[in-house]
């Protein structure tokens, strides 16, 4: 426990100590999310089911934001480990949408390209899902899985561990049981430009 604490201190000491109070204000301005109301009760962290895989606990992410440690928050594992189960958001006594803060940071990390497909497979999955959706209107599961494996490079590890075969077998099972369509369904969007205008 003590060793972990010392390690965390070192991580924080590695980053430049330039304080940027404007991040919390920026989040409030952009999303109405009152991050500065946090009084560190840690209710968010206590209810979070995924703390075991996080480098910063949810309350620590909020603290980093208040301290203006943007780099540290954007590069944290935590924001990509969050499953958006909304337990923290539901229970926060100060009305902070903590899961929404995680979204804000993920969106910013994506815009600023501080995450990559190869290093962050969760990000790789979101990207292929998002692109498939923008292109076809609806998501075609086999296509996004194949794209994900290729883009992230996860296929290599899966080939080595043998779990790629397992996935193929599962795919065949689903196909046999009418739970997979080989071709995506078509959507007539009536010349509507969803997705293409904003990008």
């Amino acid at each position: 426990m003590m060793a972990e604490y010392v390690q965390r201190q070192e991580v924080i000491q590695d980053v430049p100590r330039e304080i940027n109070f404007s991040l919390a204000e920026e989040i409030f301005r952009e999303t109405g999310n009152p991050v500065l109301s946090c009084f560190q009760c840690r209710k968010c962290t206590n209810g979070c089911p995924l703390t075991f895989a996080m480098d910063y606990y949810p309350d620590q992410i909020i603290r980093l934001i208040i301290l203006g440690q943007e780099e540290e928050a954007l590069r944290s594992r935590t924001i990509w480990v969050c499953s958006s189960c909304e337990t923290c958001t539901t229970r926060c006594p100060n009305g902070i949408d903590i899961a929404g803060v995680m979204d804000y940071l993920k969106q910013k990390a994506h815009k600023q390209a501080v995450v990559s497909h190869k290093d962050n497979w969760s990000y790789a999955f979101h990207r292929v899902f998002f692109e498939n959706m923008l292109k076809n209107g609806r998501v075609h599961e086999p296509k996004i899985l194949a794209d994900y494996l290729l883009r992230s490079g996860a296929w290599k590890q899966k080939l080595e561990s043998g779990s790629l075969w397992r996935d193929v077998k599962l795919g065949l099972f689903l196909l046999r049981n009418r739970r997979m369509r080989l071709f995506p369904s078509r959507v007539n969007i009536n010349g509507h430009t969803v997705g293409t205008e904003a990008h």
């Binding site: 999303t31 109405g32 089911p49 995924l50 075991f52 895989a53 480990v81 499953s83 958006s84 189960c85 909304e86 337990t87 958001t89 539901t90 949408d97 979204d103 804000y104 993920k106 969106q107 994506h110 497979w121 969760s122 790789a124 999955f125 979101h126 990207r127 899902f129 998002f130 959706m133 923008l134 209107g137 609806r138 998501v139 075609h140 599961e141 086999p142 899985l145 994900y148 992230s152 996860a154 397992r166 599962l170 099972f173 689903l174 049981n177 009418r178 739970r179 997979m180 369509r181 369904s185 959507v187 007539n188 969007i189 009536n190 509507h192 969803v194 997705g195 904003a198």
Partner: protein
């Protein structure tokens, strides 16, 4: 018959086709005429709200406007689609993004229901009770509601988000035993199963262990992501932890069909990875 608009969502055209088949039968027996929303598009799911705030609202907004033109309430079987549609509904009605509201003038004249809530109103339960032909005696089930139809309640309008009971009441109405347990709304990890199965396995193992400790012989769900994580990966989770789990996972609509004595449903259950038929045989239900 009551006409409603069905917004199925992408996975009900794929891995959750079994859910789709079962809910169509259940609804038709209960006098609910499902009319699929024409040209619906993806709700954006986790990917959109993780990458682009505006598009995460724009995709559901388009569906809401299409549905409002149709003029019927929308029923949503997928928990995440439901959550995204409700989130967008609130944003549009509060006009949080004027450019979005301008492009998608949603007035809020229709309601968005999650399928479970829609089929478990007191009136519906009465109807269900009168149609039960084969009570599901012997099935001892924990109800697993998942996250997205409950949280956050200011979005979902859930009445009892920490301890929902509608699925438990349904289970009892169908003649099975509902086991109260503490993990009703705990997270299964959802789409993490693709990129971070290690996380999902830990979360789901906790659910199995508790269900088994409370002597459940099945888990009932109302969300296809919960179903995928609990059913499709059960053998992998067993292997990962050196356990031998065998606990069937039912959609609540499948249980309705079984209790109504629908023969087709029995055959369709073998489309799950964990075959529920041995458990049903043990209970003398087939």
């Amino acid at each position: 018959m009551v006409d409603v608009t069905l917004y199925p969502g992408c996975s009900l055209e794929g891995t959750a086709q079994d859910y789709r088949d079962s809910l169509e039968i259940a609804c038709s027996r209960l006098g609910v005429n499902l009319i699929e929303l024409e040209n619906w598009i993806c709700c954006g799911a986790t990917a959109a709200h993780s990458l682009d705030e505006f598009l995460a609202l724009e995709f559901p907004a388009r569906n809401l406007v299409l549905a409002e033109k149709r003029g019927l309430d929308v029923v949503v079987p997928c928990a995440l689609c439901f959550n995204r549609l409700k989130t967008t509904e609130k944003h549009l009605l509060k006009n949080t993004h004027p450019e979005l509201t301008k492009k998608y003038p949603f007035k809020g004249t229709i309601k968005i229901h999650d399928l479970l809530a829609y089929l478990t109103t007191p009136d519906m339960l009465k109807g269900i009770s009168s149609l039960v032909k084969k009570p599901l005696e012997g099935l001892k089930l924990v109800s697993y509601y998942g996250c997205m139809v409950n949280r956050p309640p200011r979005i979902t309008d859930a009445q009892n988000h920490e301890n929902p009971t509608q699925m438990d009441r349904l289970v009892e109405t169908l003649g099975a035993t509902a086991i109260d347990w503490p993990f009703k709304t705990d997270c299964c990890g959802a789409s993490h199963v693709v990129a971070r199965p290690d996380l999902v396995f830990v979360l789901v193992k906790k659910l199995y262990d508790r269900a088994i400790a409370q002597e459940a012989n099945g888990i009932v769900v109302s969300c296809q992501m919960c179903h995928a994580n609990l059913d499709m990966y059960q053998d992998q989770i067993s292997e990962y932890f050196g356990e031998r789990y065998h606990i069937p996972v039912f959609y609540f609509t499948e249980l309705i069909n079984l209790a109504f004595g629908d023969e087709r449903q029995i055959g369709w259950l073998s489309r799950h990875v964990v075959d529920p038929l041995p458990t049903l045989r043990e209970c003398g239900l087939i």
